[in-house]
Amino acid sequence: MTQTAHLVNRLPNDIGGVDAERIEQTDHVLEPWEKRCHALADVLDYHKIISTEEKRRGVESLGAKMIGELTYYERWIVAFANILFQKGVLTPDDLAKKMEEVAARHSGPIEAHE
């Protein structure tokens, strides 16, 4: 039972006080899509399509594996998609079709199903 209890009794974003490594004073200039993703978060909040609090909950509910392996803005955009589906603003099919369309402009299928 203790093998998996940590997955249940602590949300993966709730890390105050857990063991962690030395701080590396890293930073990077945001890529254009990351900055657009940040701006999208603000605009979605202005319209209360996805509020900041909904976004926070959306990110924490991605689960430990995605939180651990996706980058910061990758987590945000996936959380937005999930919330928009949950609220019925978009359907998964809407997004999948549009993603195919966007990928086709760059002459290639989406390489997500390896």
Binding site: V8, N9, E53, R56
Partner: protein, 115 residues
Amino acid sequence: MPEPSSATAAKSLHTVKSFGDQPTWKPGDAIRISVRYPIAHYRVPRYIHGKHGTVEMVLDRALVNNEEEGFGRNAGQLGYYYRVAIPLTELWPGYAGSPNDNLRIEVFETWLEKP
């Protein structure tokens, strides 16, 4: 729940206040943070659950609980956030720094209890 301050009480006619009309706690009050199970969408981090502290200040204007807002509910019962002080020696047994070192954190009033 603690009584409102005597100054407020003296000036007020006897009306029943809605939740959120006035703060429940005042600066200097000793409080304990709730312990909650099961785990859920909390905006109160686990490392302060069950810990004892002191109210430093009542944050301006009553607001909707942001844990409710996390589910898309943007209206409803208002309440106050409090800036709470908790000694690091209370949070971390064997804390090696100065005994005066402390945490300050905003906590919504539904999480505060009498110690």
